[in-house]
Structure formats: C-alpha cells, structure tokens
C-alpha cells in the first residue's frame, strides 16, 4: 500500500517534471548522463551476472551465473596475501592525495590571486602542464626522475653533489613510504590543477569591494584569506573534495604504468582500482563478467563515500531554497 503510494507520487512527480520548463533546460545534460552513465551502469550490472569473457557476446551474454562473479571477487579479496598492503595503500593514497589536491589547489588559487595578472597566468599554465601531458609521457618523465640507478634524475643529482655514494631505490627499497610518496606525488601534481581552476574562477567572482574594504580596514593577505576568501569558497571546496575523492578512488592509469615498469613496489604501489583492473584484464583471458562485478562494487563504494562526504560537509544547506530574508 505504502509502496503504491510512493510509486504514484513518483510517477506524478515525473510527469510534472517532464511538463516543466526545467526538463527542457536539463534535457541535453540528462541525455548525456543517461547515454554515457546510466545505460553503461545498467549494462555493467547486467554483465556482472553473466560469465562473459574474451568478448564472446554471442556465447555468454545470455547465460546467467548469479552471484558467481561477486563471490569470486570476495574470495580473492579475502585470500590474497597482498590485499592488506593494497587496501592500506588505497586509504593512504586517497586520503593524502585528496588533501594535496584540495589544499594545493586552494593554495595556488589564493596565491595567484595576490599576484600580478601576468605572473598568475604563467604560473597557472605551468601547473596545468601535468594534466595536458599524455599519461604515458608524463609517467615516463617521473619514471626516469625516480629511477633507482644513476640514470634516474634524483639519484644522479644527489650523487653528483656527493650526498649519496650509491643510488637509492625509493619506489622499491623504502617500504612503504617510498612507493606511497611516489604515487602520491605523481597523482597530486596532476590533481591540483583541477582545484586551482575551480577556485580561481570562484575567487574572481567574489566582489572586489569586500577585499578592498578589508584592506582599508588594515587587513593583511592572511586575514583576507582566512576571513573572506575561504568562507566564501566553502561550496566550491565541498564540490572539489567530493569530485576528487571519487576520481581518486577510481584512478589507476599513472599508477598502472609505474607498477608495470617496476618503479614502485607491486603491493605498496597498487590501489584497489588497479587491483581490479589487473585482476579482470591484465593477466590471462579477459574476464569481462568479473570486471563488471568489480566495477559495480566500485560504483557502490563511490556512491556511499560521495554521499557521506556531501552529508559531512552540509551539501543540502547549499541547495536549500533561499529563505528570502537577504
């Protein structure tokens, strides 16, 4: 009964939404979300219940194996001796890189705000370079930078300066902090530019009068930052944090190459999403059923984490309708 009530309310809501102007404005975005997100998620969820492998759709797409792929995944996670290292690495990687990305982006945006316009533009462009460089090229640069021999930039410089007499193997020799530092550094450098752009555009929308008035009252850069800029950037910080959290959980491309090239330790250099990728695609036959199950689990984890972040940061207060007393 209650269910029916809910359904009829939902249908009513949907009809009135479709008739409203809002639906027409949202149509292009909705179309993209449905085609590129909702439908693929639906197909993935479906695939996760089939034994699909080697892309043999003709043969496997209509067979059902129930929860077998999920069971397989659970079995691997609970039996793999490397899993502890991988989960620990995931937590540290996501937490620290997230902090670097958000605080770094904020720092850069605010720093450049107080700079002359030309210097600000140039320095922002510099920070965008990692994002513009193709992943393989960018990873290769850091591969040679951290390489554990005299061909590695760091080692070669330190040896020339006479600070060390034989090369240090950061990614494989200093466990776990060595590999963690490398993957956090490499990904952090790519990530900060995103926050920087969002925060820069947000800051440029803050009325200049507020800052000028504060200056007249004798406020320094630090006071302006603390009392004016950061409070006004709150919603942007929430957005960037949530967005970066979700993308860090699912990112593996740079890490994949660094592990593949043996620059960083396999266990303390792999995150959960890389583990999922390797399990499903890397070795042996490509198991799309298992990959789909792992993907569904990732979507669920991301959804829960995303909701928690939004809740913690008070997202609903931002979308609440204005009270009209301004």
């Amino acid at each position: 009964m209650k269910n029916n009530h809910f359904l009829s309310r939902f249908a009513g809501g949907l009809t009135s939404f479709l008739r409203s102007d809002a639906s027409k404005f949202l149509a292009p975005a909705l179309f993209l979300v449905i085609v590129f997100y909702v439908i693929p998620v639906g197909i993935s969820a479906y695939m996760s219940f089939t034994p699909l492998k080697n892309w043999n759709i003709d043969r496997y797409a209509t067979q059902f194996v129930g929860l077998e792929n999920y069971w397989k995944l659970f079995y691997m996670v609970t039996h793999d001796p490397s899993m502890k290292a991988i989960l620990l690495t995931t937590v540290v990687f996501v937490a620290v890189t997230l902090a670097v990305n958000v605080l770094g982006g904020l720092g850069l945006a605010i720093g450049t705000y107080f700079m002359s316009e030309r210097a600000a533009g140039a320095s922002q462009l510099l920070w965008l370079l990692p994002r513009m460089t193709p992943i393989a090229v960018y990873s290769l640069i850091w591969y040679y930078f951290f390489h554990p021999s005299n061909i590695g930039t760091i080692n070669s410089v330190l040896m020339h300066l006479g600070l060390i007499d034989k090369p240090i193997d950061i990614g494989q020799g200093i466990i776990p902090w060595g590999p963690w530092s490398i993957i956090i550094f490499v990904n952090g450098l790519v990530g900060v530019s995103y926050g920087m752009i969002v925060f820069t555009s947000a800051i440029s929308n803050i009325p200049k009068e507020l800052v000028i008035a504060a200056r007249v009252d004798g406020a320094g850069n630090w006071d302006i930052t603390r009392k004016i800029l950061v409070p006004l950037l709150k919603w942007h910080i929430i957005y960037v944090t949530t967005w970066q959290l979700l993308s860090l959980i699912t990112t593996y491309d740079h890490i994949f190459l660094l592990v593949q090239w043996n620059l960083v330790n396999r266990d303390y250099g792999s995150t959960w999403s890389l583990y999922v990728y390797n399990t499903a695609f890397q070795a042996g036959e490509t198991d799309q059923g298992l990959a789909a199950a792992a993907g569904v689990v990732l979507v669920l984890i991301s959804a829960v984490l995303g909701l928690i972040t939004l809740k913690l940061m008070g997202f609903e207060r931002m979308i609440r309708e204005p009270r009209g007393d301004i």
């Binding site: 080697n54 043999n56 043969r59 397989k72 061909i151 090239w261 399990t279 042996g284």
Partner: protein, 550 residues
C-alpha cells in the same frame, strides 16, 4: 460512436500494413541457395589452387578480399606480407590457367602482438576481425575455446607431406585438444650469451663450452663459478644479467633446466613444481648474494641499462634470445670508446664479442634447455566474411584462406623472414635454403618475390640484415630447437607467469627467502578461484639443497 469507428479503422490499417510487409518479405525471400560445386582439397597444392579458382570463377566472383594482421619488431613484417606474396603467387597460377580472379589483401602490422590478439578477440563478434592472423601460439587455446578460429585438421588431412616438413615440436605446439589450429610461422631460441672478452681477460677457456653444455656436463654451478672468477678478476661488473619485468619466458627456462614442468598433459592442468621453482629461486639468490646479479634486476631499464651493460662487456653472461644478435646491430647500445659515440655493433663485432650456448642444465643429471614461442598462422572461423555471397561460398573462401597460408609457407618466404628478422626457420626446406650460397647471394635482388608491395616493404630491411655472419649465426643456433620447451597453451598461464615475476623480484631484493617465495606463490594461487582450479601444486621444497654445488 465516431471514436469507436476510428479505432476500428486504425486496427484495420495496422493489420493491412503488417500483412503487406509479410507478403512482400515472403515473395522476396532468398530462394534455396544454388548448389555450388564442392571443392575437395587433394593435397596437391597447385591443383587445389586451380580448383578453388575455377569454383570462384564459376560462381561469378572476380575479386576476393582478405585481411591479415600481425605484430612484432619492425623487421618481422613478413608476418603479414607473407600472405600478400602468397596471394601474388596464387594469382600467377590462376593466370596461367585462364582463371580471372583477383585476391586483394589488406594488411595491418602492429608493434605489439598482444594488442593484435586483444583486437582480434574484441572485434570478432562485430565481424571486424581479420581473416588471417599471425600471432603467438599461446593464444590458440582461448581462440579455439571461443570458436574464433578454424580447426585446420580436416583441411590438411591430405597435406601430410607439407606438415611433415615442419620441425615436429613446433608443429606439436600448434595443436590443442588433439586438433591442429595453426601453421607455424616462425620460432626462436634463447641462447645464453657469454662475453668472449671477459672470458679472455679472466683466463677462462670457452673452447667447446657449447658442446659441454649440450652434453649436460656444464651446469649452472659451473656458470656461477666462471662468472665469479670473471668478476673477481675485475673483468666485469656483473656475472649475470637477464630480462626485467616478467619471468616469462626467459626465466621460466630454469624450471625446465631443473627437470620441472609447468603443465600436466593428462589432467590438462597447469603445474607449480615446488622443487624446480625453489631451485630456480635459490640459483638467482646465490648470484645476487655474491654480487653477480643486481638485486633490482627486475626493474632495470632495457634500453638504458640491460643492453648497454651487455653490449659494452660489463656482464659475463646474459640470458638472451636469437633476435638480440641483430638488435645489437640496429640499435645504438654500444658506446664506442674510440669515437665516444653510441652506435650499433657491426656483425663482425657481435661475432667477436659473444659466445653463445644453450641454457645449461640446472644440476648434474639434468638436461640443457631453451624455450621457444613459435608464431602461428591462424584462420578466422568466419574467414572470407567480407566477400559477396558469403553464406553460399563460405567453404570455398575458407579453403582459399587455408591455401594462402600453405603458400605463405614456401621455403623461400620462410628463409627470407628468418634472415631479415633473425628468427629460426620452422621448416627443414627453409633451413636448407639458408645454407644455399646461391640463394643467399641473390637475396638482395629478391628474385623469388612476385609482389611489388612486398618487395618495396622489405628491400631496405634485406639490405641491412642479409649478412653472411648473421645467416651463419641462425644456422648455428637452429640445433637448439631440438632442446626446446614451450610454455603451456593454457588460458590461465599468463596469470601464473605474472606471479613468478612477482616472487622472483622479492627473492632478488632479499625480502623473501626462496622457500618463503614458494609459499607465497602457493598462497597467491589459492587466492584466485580460477587459478586455484587450474593449477596443481606438486613436489616439495628439498631440504639441504645447496647452490653452487661445486
């Protein structure tokens, strides 16, 4: 009332439309396919080519299209052009017999053979996979399991003479579940290279070392002692260098050299042979602990560390492959002390610097080994799908694809590929041509090649590589095929090989003892349900086994 009438009208209209469409479909349905004369393969290649050509012409076909994909190093392009040349030769035969049918072949040559395989698999269901592919024999298992490639056994039942010219172990590698799914395209061996300069410097006599290795009199303990002697005499920085990144296939040779196995023919399961794997790990650990093998060997850089170290004489021994012989000539790994420039070695320099032998036996009583990963021609089970009237002429299109592959195995095509890519010939007739001075002298003019496309594509490579020293090297290493092993054609094998790489890395770095690493392998295998079901763990870690033994 009016509303009811209009509803009836709509219903009638729908019925009429459906009926009209149905009737149209019924009337225009394809008639029963007209019978096509069946072509039986007779085992006489020329006759079969003519019969297939006549059948195509009778069916009104004037052009047949095929696509062929393969991949690998830039010198191995005959993996696609072999088929183009075969098509030219078939068309010549047709022309001489008044058959006017053209074969056009689209080629696609990748850098990485595994990417070719991935593309084949992901495009098969979309009807975009090639008709013919040359790729590693290991893929035969999954391609055959999925029904993606033709079982060639019935097509070649009359071609026993053709098949018997292939080296038996290489042909055997093309079989899966007792059926033949591929025709060998090329193969290779993995010699151990020893620095002649380092040996001379340390006063080590290499005379007939290859013979002693062959007889099982020279084992890994002896190689260890030699490497140690060279290092202690200050002649080299390293005693042994090997590949990085993966244990497959070079390091897997240790398992065979200790008499171990990776596959159980009876159960069809992969094998983790604890004893052989333990001994392999112990040998490498002994080399690393003696300072002869780098602890971080698995993360060395191929182009900046491994090859330069070997080529510049800083390593006593190197676990390499036959193709390195020409790679050292084409890539600038060598630092010329006289001019100070980096350059490729000249053939005579490679010959002067390197001694080569089989991979020695692990311990007395065991056999020397090498390992090959032959390339196979495989034929799409939908071969010919892009041609007209496919449903009716399917059988003829498939047979023509098989004939193309047979023709691409002509001795001269095999010999040319071997010479320009430094791979070993897969047929005896191909190997004989390498010894034919007339053939070798004429090679730069490519007198046997009919297709201009092929001639243009390979003439530069032929000019650079057709050197008597390189050809002699190939002839001198062909005997190694008698000692060769193949890694299993099992869909789960790559996963297992990945675990080996992980374990040996931990052993070399000293984070695990050989025994712990074997246990680690077992727990990793048990953590993956697919792998657990596919691998049987046999044997025990031996107690009190020492290395080196003398």
């Amino acid at each position: 009332m009016g509303r009811a009438v209009s509803k009836v009208a709509v219903a009638v209209a729908i019925v009429v439309i459906v009926a009209a469409v149905g009737a149209a479909l019924y009337l225009t349905r394809p008639g029963a396919p007209e019978e096509v004369a069946k072509v039986e393969l007779t085992g006489n290649l020329e006759q079969d080519i003519i019969n297939v050509g006549k059948a195509l012409q009778a069916a009104g076909i004037s052009e047949v299209r095929y696509s062929v994909w393969s991949g690998g190093d830039p010198n191995s392009v005959m993996r696609v052009y072999g088929i183009v040349e075969a098509a030219a030769r078939i068309m010549k035969i047709w022309g001489e017999n008044g058959i006017n049918v053209r074969i056009s072949v689209d080629t696609n040559y990748y850098q990485k053979p595994d990417a070719v395989y991935q593309d084949f698999v992901s495009k098969w269901a979309l009807n975009q996979a090639p008709d013919i592919m040359a790729n590693g024999y290991v893929y035969i298992a999954s391609l055959a399991d999925e029904g993606y490639i033709l079982d060639l056994t019935p097509y070649l039942s009359k071609y026993q003479d053709f098949l018997s010219d292939f080296y038996a172990p290489v042909l055997e590698a093309m079989k899966y579940n007792g059926k033949l799914y591929g025709i060998p395209q090329d193969t290779e061996a993995r010699p151990i290279y020893i620095s002649k300069e380092a040996a001379a410097c340390a006063g080590i006599d290499l005379d007939d070392l290859a013979g002693k290795v062959k007889a099982g009199q020279f084992t890994w303990s002896d190689l260890f002692n030699m490497a140690k002697q060279a290092k202690e005499a200050g002649c080299v920085e390293w005693g042994l260098i090997h590949r990085k990144g993966s244990a497959h296939p070079d390091l897997i040779q240790f398992i065979y050299a200790f008499g171990g196995s990776l596959y159980d023919e009876d159960t069809g399961k992969l094998v983790l042979d604890k004893e052989a794997v333990y001994k392999w790990f112990t040998v490498e650990r002994a080399f690393a602990d003696a300072g002869l093998l780098p602890h971080d060997m698995m993360s060395w850089d191929w182009g900046k560390q491994i090859h330069p170290t070997v080529v510049n004489g800083d390593a006593f021994a190197f676990i390499g492959g036959v193709w390195h012989w020409t790679e050292w000539q084409t890539k600038a790994y060598y630092h010329d002390p006289q001019t100070g420039e980096d350059r490729g070695l000249r053939p005579e320099e490679v010959e002067a610097k390197f001694y080569y032998t089989l991979f020695p036996a692990g311990e007395p009583g065991k056999q020397p080994v090498t390992l090959s990963q032959p390339f196979a021609w495989v034929i799409n089970s939908k071969a010919g799908y892009q041609n007209p009237d496919y449903d009716r002429l399917k059988d003829i299109y498939q047979k023509l694809a098989v004939l193309l592959v047979i023709k691409a195995s002509d001795p001269d095509i095999i010999a040319i590929h071997s010479i320009i890519s430094s791979h070993l010939p897969v047929t005896k007739a191909g190997a004989e041509l390498l010894q034919d001075q007339g053939f070798v002298n004429d090679l730069p003019n490519l007198p046997t090649i009919r297709s201009d496309e092929v001639r243009n594509a390979i003439s530069d490579i032929v000019e650079r590589t057709a050197n008597p020293i390189n050809i002699e090297f190939l002839m001198n290493t062909t005997y190694m095929l008698e000692y060769t092993h193949f890694t299993p054609k099992h869909p789960q094998y790559p996963k297992l090989a990945d675990l080996f790489a992980d374990a040996i890395d931990k052993v070399l770095r000293g984070t695990m003892t050989p025994e712990e690493a074997v246990d680690y392998l077992v727990s990793k295998i048990n953590a993956d349900p697919d792998l657990k079901g596919a691998v049987e763990v046999v044997g025990e870690v031996p107690t009190g086994w020492q290395f080196p033994q003398s």
